[in-house]
């Protein structure tokens, strides 16, 4: 399937907030046949236009290109690297993981103390990220610096794959799944002008989207995300946020946005008419670029729709192909209505 190949490429490409270049180049290449105009703004956002001469409301499709990761901020005398986190990463997922660092994708591992040498209480406590080291096999500080200059970004060294029928694992599904859906939607033809905004720096404060809708301000914007699926053991039903396999996740309210009531109603009736499963985001947490877009200039009507993803912001996440397809279908049918 074409979309899966695209998701694989997007997932395997590094693009930490602040350095989305490789993802941007990949997307540019993917959409060049379908968009009439493609440009980049000072924040690094990628903007693509299609059918701007058409009548009807201008619709923005938005997904962010960046992913969470690490930035190297210190190298000790023995050549071990220390880092700051970029975006919300749980300290507990870092230990014992492989990372790729900098332009040259230098390999490193986040080393863990041998269990044999740990005191009983050490075994029970989680370790703060500020106390972790990345080992790149350098013999001292000088060699480490020559391999990995301070300020290099590190991403998880995780390869995309199908682990069982239609279940895929990889990194950065938040929000490369959204990026892939927009590419799939740009391949279609609609009666309205489409503005695609692939934004930067979402994970560190929705920063790219703060300016991304300035030049081409839409009437309606749909932010497409990978969102938390917390359908895990011992989680009460009302805290599951969303569930794998139950279709696109529609946001009513999150930390920054109440989505447009009328448009949301239209989206839900589209799902019902076409017998597409859908679910509501249950936990009022997190925020998306739609907050920034909603408050652009005089204001924009917004919707947020997402593919449920387990283990977001960790070295490896999981999604179900049916959810991706149903999210695409719902948005496609919705856009056809205009």
């Amino acid at each position: 399937m074409e979309s899966i190949e695209l998701i694989e490429k997007l997932s395997n490409t590094p693009g930490i907030s602040g350095d989305e270049r490789k993802v941007r180049e990949l997307l540019k290449d993917e959409i060049k046949e379908y968009a009439e105009k493609i440009m980049t703004d000072p924040l690094g956002n990628l903007i693509a236009l299609k059918g701007m001469e058409k009548k009807g409301p201008r619709i923005m499709l938005n997904a962010h290109m960046d992913e969470v990761g690490l930035i190297i901020d210190h190298i000790n005398k023995d050549g071990f690297l220390q880092f700051k986190k970029i975006g919300g990463i749980d300290d507990r997922v870092l230990l014992g993981k492989r990372v790729l660092i900098g332009e040259k994708e230098i390999r490193g591992v986040i080393g863990a103390k041998a269990i044999h040498l740990q005191e009983v209480d050490e075994r029970k406590k989680s370790i703060k990220s500020t106390e972790l080291y990345i080992d790149i096999g350098a013999k001292d500080m000088e060699e480490a610096e020559s391999m990995v200059p301070r300020g290099s970004f590190a991403t998880f060294d995780t390869k995309f794959e199908e682990i069982t029928e239609n279940k895929f694992i990889g990194k950065a599904f938040d929000d490369r799944l959204g990026c892939a859906i927009i590419v799939d939607l740009l391949r279609q033809n609609y009666n309205v002008p489409i503005i695609a905004l692939f934004s930067t720096q979402e994970e560190i404060g929705l920063r790219g989207a703060a300016v991304g809708a300035h030049q081409y301000t839409p009437d309606v914007a749909i932010t497409i995300e990978g969102t938390i699926s917390n359908d895990l053991p011992e989680v009460p039903d009302h805290l599951k946020c969303s569930k794998l396999g139950r279709g696109p996740v529609i946001t009513v309210k999150d930390r920054g946005v109440i989505t447009d009531n009328e448009l949301r109603g239209k989206l839900i009736s589209t799902a019902k008419q076409n017998k597409i499963p859908y679910q509501f985001k249950q936990v009022i947490a997190g925020g998306t670029d739609s907050y920034r877009i909603q408050t652009t200039k005089k204001g924009v009507k917004v919707l947020t729709v997402a593919v449920p993803v387990r283990y977001l912001h960790s070295p490896v996440s999981l999604f179900f192909k049916d959810d991706y397809i149903n999210t695409f279908k719902l948005l496609n049918k919705f856009l056809k209505k205009f």
Partner: protein, 346 residues
């Protein structure tokens, strides 16, 4: 170092009690170099190279098995519950594992989003009874395909870190590799004594291979080759050994003085650098081997290895080469004087 071989050895999954996949790899590597190869019922495999006159037997030992988790049950949703004692639970969340059920499955050890947990909770390591493996399967498929008791190992991820090498299960595939290369080097000069290469099962949990094979093979003396703690910023200097500074000789009650003396003499003669690990019991197969039958003199040679029992163990290949060299020279230097000393004292 033959990097292709160490990559092949570490890519194989051999949880404690499921070591057989390594048997064929060892057989393929050594069939042209030895007089005998045999797998044993305990999951071990041994090779024999006859010496001349071959009055005594030396057993070189390294363990085949790697640390693992065991499936203990499943949840209503089809997530697996697991158990382990040999793995630091803190390295598990966010990792990919291989589940060895009716066939091999990949799974994720997942973690709940931290903003849905209390701050208190995130300060603790996730306890084993809260951890689960997500293979993306429902309960029905899991019940059919992943029986309780199935083993779970770390996903392989062989990588070069500059000049160092990282992967799962370098503990103790570096030992397995060392013995394979020592046997290849015996071509240079026929040894005075018979050399047995014993690749043992179940070191990480029960010591079964070391105990029962040693009884069968009846070596006169033995040397275990295993991994020890490599220096890193996580560990105190006193408890670790430097990477790239050569093999580590264990000094203490569980190693034999005469064997150690000979190892140092060989190192002296050929200008090799050795490190010393001072301890009581070594935590290797040697501890078990020493107590088999009427008692067996043992030596322990270890290779410094960082981040032991994690998916990202790290070694310096030059340490492995130096260990191969030390052992090959040790075998060549075995003479009547040494054998007399060994048997005079015991």
């Amino acid at each position: 170092m033959n990097q292709k071989l160490i990559e092949e050895l570490t890519n194989v999954h051999a949880a404690t009690s499921e070591e057989s996949e390594l048997h064929s790899l060892i057989t393929k590597e050594l069939s042209n170099y030895v007089d005998e190869i045999k797998t044993l019922k305990n999951g071990s495999i041994y090779v024999l190279k006859k010496g001349k006159p071959g009055k005594y037997n030396l057993m070189l030992d390294a363990h085949l098995d790697e640390v693992a988790l065991f499936v203990t049950g499943m949840t209503e949703e089809g997530f697996l519950r697991v158990h382990t004692k040999s793995i630091d639970l803190k390295v598990l969340p966010g990792s990919i594992v291989c589940v060895h059920g009716e066939q091999e499955f990949k799974g994720i050890i997942g973690l709940k989003p931290y903003h849905l947990e209390s701050e208190e909770e995130t300060k603790k390591a996730v306890p084993i009874d809260k951890l689960f493996v997500d293979c993306g399967m429902d309960k029905e498929s899991v019940e059919k395909l992943i029986p309780i008791g199935s083993t779970v190992t770390f996903m392989s991820g062989f990588s070069h870190l500059n000049k160092l090498i990282s992967n799962k299960s370098l503990d103790d595939r570096v030992g397995v590799y060392t013995i394979i290369e020592v046997f290849k080097s015996l071509k240079r000069k026929l040894p005075l004594i018979n050399i047995i290469g014993h690749f043992s099962s179940q070191e990480e949990i029960t010591g079964l291979g070391a105990i029962t094979s040693t009884y069968t093979l009846k070596p006169d003396f033995a040397i275990a080759i295993d991994a020890t703690f490599g220096a890193s910023p996580n560990e105190s200097e006193r408890k670790t050994y430097k990477m790239g500074k050569g093999p580590v000789i264990f000094i203490g009650p569980s190693s034999d003085r005469i064997i150690n003396k000979k190892l140092f003499a060989v190192a002296d003669k050929f200008n090799l650098t050795l490190q010393q690990e001072i301890g009581i019991l070594s935590g290797t197969d040697a501890t078990e081997i020493q107590l088999v039958g009427g008692g067996i003199p043992v030596g322990i040679i270890s290779i410094p290895l960082r981040y032991m029992h994690t998916p990202t163990e790290v070694i310096d290949p030059t340490d492995v080469d130096k260990t191969v060299n030390l052992l090959s020279l040790f075998i060549e230097e075995i003479d009547d004087l040494f054998l007399e000393a060994l048997y005079g004292e015991h």
